[in-house]
């Protein structure tokens, strides 16, 4: 893809255009706002697709139709729901802590949006190209629980408090194995920069060329991140049948809507991290083998045949990494939905047992094995 147009060309072109007509600080400000809006809009479109997808997946897995009344196959159901939420009153209970109660949803939304900053969406398409990208995301995503604790505590409701406490215990434990499985890949790639990790997978995704330990790390990461998103089978923080709605029992209207949105944004972020670390982010599929058929396949995947085509067609290839990025994103999201609608909810003791007796020891052993692989040079 050397001769083709890159995202960095586009961004440089916009930068030069803006610089030619206004002051540097203004250019900086405008670029910040435009980039942030673009990222948030892209994510919101994903969330809309995810909500529709969740309802359809849930329906079909439970032998139902899913939404099919508002619009063609229920496509406009979400918009009807949003209008309903906007029209409803955001009610604050009398004995609730008013300030914390109002701040909690906003805070958790901000935290989950912050995690978007170092994500690499495509080659050269990254908001904040930092060398501590993955570390930043792990640090930020563990802060999400503060919003939940705040909501549970300030509602002055026993269900909300119980849900929040469970969520705290859950996230504190599952952060460990999620972190360890991330470290596995960081050790293999040798960098914390998200773009760098993706570059290191140009000759095969880590889940393919990292042998068994990378597959183990992938499975452990998927389990732990499902738990971090508070999604079934780890949705103890909400647990409809026991705690009404858990930490957001007392929320109504758009404040509830924000928590709902938040769940999907978290899922999106987690899926982006998983696809960055294990499935090669925006890298197309690559077979790490050395025989002619594999080479031909890899050339097609990398759009080699387009190099000789006229320049205006190569604009199309700009979308190719995005197709892969979002494809992997929705693949992992489908996995998480599949789990949610298949498995029953765990009890709190089973949940902690799963983490401390199974996932954590296994991921430590896994990390040691990966370290041995790297020292002995066994990986591709």
């Amino acid at each position: 893809m050397i001769s083709m147009i890159q995202f960095s060309d586009v961004t440089t072109w916009i930068h030069q255009l803006l610089s030619s007509c206004m002051a540097p600080w203004l250019v900086f400000l405008i670029e910040l706002v435009v980039a942030a809006v673009a990222a948030v809009v892209a994510l919101l479109v994903c969330v809309i697709i995810m909500v529709y997808m969740e309802r359809k997946v849930a329906g079909h897995m439970q032998l139902r139709h899913g939404p099919n009344r508002v619009g063609w196959h229920g496509l406009c159901q979400l918009f009807a729901d949003i209008i309903k939420l906007l029209l409803k009153e955001s009610f604050t209970p009398t004995r609730a802590d008013k300030l914390l109660f109002t701040v909690a949803p906003v805070l958790s939304l901000c935290v989950s949006l912050l995690a978007l900053a170092p994500i690499s969406w495509g080659p050269g398409l990254v908001l904040w190209n930092t060398n501590i990208g993955v570390l930043f995301v792990t640090a930020i995503s563990s802060m999400g629980v503060i919003g939940i604790l705040m909501a549970g505590w300030s509602s002055n409701n026993k269900y909300a408090l119980l849900g929040a406490m469970r969520s705290g215990a859950q996230i504190v434990s599952y952060e460990l194995s999620a972190g360890l499985s991330i470290v596995t890949i960081v050790a293999l790639a040798g960098t914390l920069n998200t773009g760098g990790i993706i570059e290191s997978q140009a000759n095969g995704w880590w889940v393919l060329k990292g042998h068994l330990p990378a597959i183990f790390a992938f499975i452990i990461y998927i389990i732990a991140s499902t738990a971090e998103c508070n999604r079934a089978p780890f949705d103890l923080a909400e647990a409809e049948s026991e705690l009404t709605a858990g930490y957001h029992t007392e929320y109504s209207g758009m404040q509830f809507g924000i928590f709902y949105l938040n769940e999907y944004i978290n899922m999106g972020v987690v899926a982006m991290i998983a696809s960055t670390l294990f499935l090669g982010g925006w890298q197309p599929f690559y077979l790490p083998f050395d025989f002619p058929l594999a080479h031909a396949f890899n050339d097609i995947m990398a759009l080699k045949f387009m190099e000789t085509w006229p320049a205006w067609i190569s604009w199309v290839s700009l979308a190719w990494p995005l197709v892969w990025f979002f494809g992997k994103l929705f693949l992992i999201i489908f996995f998480m939905m599949w789990f949610r609608w298949t498995f029953p909810r765990l009890r709190i003791d089973q949940l902690l047992k799963l983490e401390w007796k199974y996932l954590l020891p296994l991921s430590i052993v896994n990390l040691v094995i990966v370290a041995l692989f790297i020292v002995l040079g066994l990986h591709f």
């Binding site: 997946v57 079909h60 897995m61 439970q62 032998l63 139902r64 139709h65 099919n68 599949w338 789990f339 609608w341 298949t342 498995f343 199974y358 296994l362």
Partner: protein, 167 residues
């Protein structure tokens, strides 16, 4: 060593059983045309698929001669847990001068019926049954009180029991 083996076995078994569940839901997901059991109710009103066993309203069975089998024994009335049935009988005189109790009105209060099927089980004559009707709501409560025996219907004569010829 044994403990480690058991530990790993447990993990492996867990994955196998989880995979079983996942495969089942995946099968449902990829073949919705086969697996979905929800009825698109108001849309398929002209060709609904309701099971024959579905317990809707109670009817008194009438044959082609407008005869039913109810002897007005009131067992169904007594079996009904919420008094949805009223058997009103009358005395008639037969040709040979005997007085006989026959059914006058079989009153069914659909508005109180819980579709529990106990009346059907109680009836010694199998005179009543439940049909699979389900669009039972209406705007006027009084229309739900029905007389089930058709006008002019009468008790079916018992077929004469012919003694078996011994061989």
């Amino acid at each position: 060593m044994k403990a480690l083996y058991n530990y790993l076995k447990e993990v492996a078994f867990a994955f196998v059983s989880l995979a079983n569940g996942l495969l089942l839901t995946l099968k449902y997901f990829v073949t919705p045309w086969k697996s979905i059991i929800t009825e698109n109710y108001p849309d398929n009103r002209d060709h609904p698929s309701v099971a024959d066993e579905f317990a809707g309203e109670v009817i008194l069975i009438h044959d082609e001669n407008n005869e039913h089998k109810c002897t007005a024994c009131t067992l169904c009335q007594m079996a009904c847990p919420n008094n949805s049935i009223q058997i009103i009988s009358k005395q008639v005189e037969t040709e040979d001068g005997k007085k006989k109790k026959v059914l006058d009105q079989w009153v069914y209060h659909l508005e109180m019926c819980t579709f529990c099927k106990q009346c059907i089980d109680a009836c010694p004559q199998d005179a009543i049954k439940m049909i699979n009707s389900y669009e039972l709501s209406c705007f006027d409560r009084s229309t739900l009180t029905k007389v089930l025996n058709r006008p002019g219907s009468k008790l079916k004569e018992k077929a004469k029991v012919t003694p078996k010829v011994q061989e």
